[in-house]
């Protein structure tokens, strides 16, 4: 426990605001690339992909916080809300790019995609599950709902992450390795969670 204790001690004075600042850096990086012409010949797609990937990565990072504490004793719970909200922010930007820059408000095509395209349905399901989590992320919302109901609602993050990873696997043309690794990671985290819940005395 000594390493974990040292890390926890070192992190104690760090305010969660630091996480927000770090979380915004990838977005700033994209903005910088945008103005430097560094997004390649198809900047729309590059933005869309990178934002989606950041969303999934922060989502997975958030899911790692509890296992990390249980397995190593390193406690990052204080930062979890920030990580989750950053994930939501990137997901929202990702969807916004899709609607505004990719499909450009062609509502007929957007509507058709949302009902007919399995990978879009999966992405939309993920996003819809993240919305109430972001909505109830404040202390006052938690108080209003009560801890038990709040915790139950926030279990939605697991199916949301699964849906997002499936969305990724589903949209690629063949079977590149990255989306499969992301899906495997999410599945492992969900598996751990289920396992630990099952073991917990009633």
């Amino acid at each position: 426990m000594t390493v974990a204790a040292a890390i926890n001690g070192a992190l104690r004075p760090v305010p969660p605001a630091v996480v927000y600042v770090l979380g915004v850096l990838p977005a700033l990086w994209l903005v910088m690339l945008l103005f430097a012409g560094g997004l390649g010949v198809d900047p729309v797609r590059r933005l869309e992909q990178d934002l989606g990937l950041y969303a999934l990565q922060f989502l997975i990072a958030g899911l790692c916080i509890t296992p990390l504490r249980r397995l190593t004793g390193i406690n990052l719970i204080r930062f979890r809300r920030a990580v989750g909200l950053i994930a939501f922010g990137y997901a929202a930007l990702h969807v916004a790019v899709w609607v505004a820059l990719d499909l450009q408000f062609r509502w007929a095509e957007i509507g058709a995609a949302l009902v007919k395209r399995p990978y879009i349905v999966a992405g939309a399901a993920a996003f819809l599950m993240l919305v109430p989590l972001a909505w109830t992320s404040t202390d006052s919302a938690m108080r209003r709902m009560g801890a038990a109901a709040w915790r139950r609602l926030h279990l939605l993050v697991y199916p949301a992450a699964l849906a997002a990873a499936v969305h990724y696997v589903w949209l690629v043309k063949r079977w590149p390795i990255e989306p499969i690794l992301y899906l495997a990671a999410v599945a492992a985290l969900v598996g751990l969670r289920v396992l630990w819940r099952a073991r917990r005395p009633a």
Binding site: P43, V44, L103, Q104, E109, Y119, W170, L171, K173
Partner: protein, 304 residues
């Protein structure tokens, strides 16, 4: 490499036409460019060329699907440069009068090269406008003599693992193969291209010689061809084999028939930037006047 601009004289402007037919001279021509001034023998702008502004050299050569060199669209430019394209020969066999292994110079012999500025529509719903340099495939087929029984033309891409890092993974059943119905292959829109922007074909775009079929999704336009076979039966085609529900043998550009996972109704033109307007996709990629007749009476929903 300096990127050619439309107004620059290129080697095509300065190289006497007979030299075009010899690939070594073609490379020498590029070197001689610095010395020479603009001269005669500009490539004729072929019929069927669109008036739309072509994409930049950068767009066309840095955004490629050529899975033999990797899955990312930037991979071909990074990884294809060590591909050996000289010497190069094409096996022409099957139902032809004069089968054999043809050296590239021999393939090009007497074929009139011209510039064809075509729209190019990828199955992934993006598009470009590309100034190809090439000649009509029918010229070559007529030269080798198509036998009466032939109904299809099969094409095969080079498979050379030590120069193609992407084939280590069996993304597709290598070598990459494509095919056309004989009447599609004989259509004057169908060309074998050996260059673009009056430069020799860049490796990431399918050097030294590739097919271009502008009314079909891009993956039909097979790159770096080493074999052309005339067959009686419909040949194996790689994407159809990999996902038959998603990629049919015909794969004509058709805004009304969606890919199972995404719509084909509209497309984004590469190079239009962050706020470029999305365009409606045109039936047969806008070449319907020329090719719709090939499919008269066919159900294009069933034959996607």
């Amino acid at each position: 490499m300096r990127h050619p601009r439309k107004t620059d004289p290129t080697w095509a402007d300065v190289t006497p036409k007979p030299l075009w037919l010899n690939r070594r001279a073609l490379i020498a021509g590029a070197a001689a460019l610095a010395a020479a001034g603009p001269a005669a023998a500009r490539l004729p702008k072929g019929r069927f060329s669109t008036d739309e502004a072509p994409n930049s050299w950068d767009d066309i050569t840095s955004y490629n699907n050529f899975y033999e060199f990797g899955l990312d669209k930037g991979d071909p430019k990074r990884n294809a440069q060590r591909l050996t394209t000289d010497p190069w020969s094409i096996v022409i066999d099957g139902l032809v009068d004069r089968p054999g292994t043809y050296d590239l110079a021999d393939v090009l012999k007497d074929q009139p090269l011209e510039e064809r500025i075509y729209r190019f529509r990828c199955v992934e719903a993006w598009s470009m406008v590309i100034p190809w340099v090439g000649f009509e495939l029918q010229g070559l087929l007529n030269r080798v003599g198509v036998q009466p029984g032939a109904k299809y033309v099969a094409f095969e891409t080079l498979l050379r693992p030590d120069e193609m890092p992407g084939v280590a993974r069996r993304v597709l059943d290598w070598p990459y193969r494509e095919g056309l119905r004989l009447d599609e292959a004989m259509h004057p829109l169908t060309i074998l291209a050996t260059g673009l922007y009056s430069e020799p074909m860049p490796k990431q775009n399918g050097a030294p010689i590739r097919l271009v079929v502008p009314w079909k999704y891009g993956f039909k336009s097979i790159k770096s061809i080493i074999r052309i076979t005339l067959t009686e039966t419909q040949p194996f085609t790689s994407w159809n084999d990999a996902a038959p529900r998603e990629y049919g043998f015909y794969s004509n550009v058709n805004p009304e028939v969606s890919h199972p996972r995404w719509s084909q109704a509209s497309e984004r033109r590469i190079g239009d930037g962050l706020f470029g307007r999305r365009r409606d996709t045109l039936m047969f990629n806008g070449y319907g006047d020329e090719v719709a007749g090939l499919y008269a009476g066919m159900d294009l929903r069933a034959n996607y």
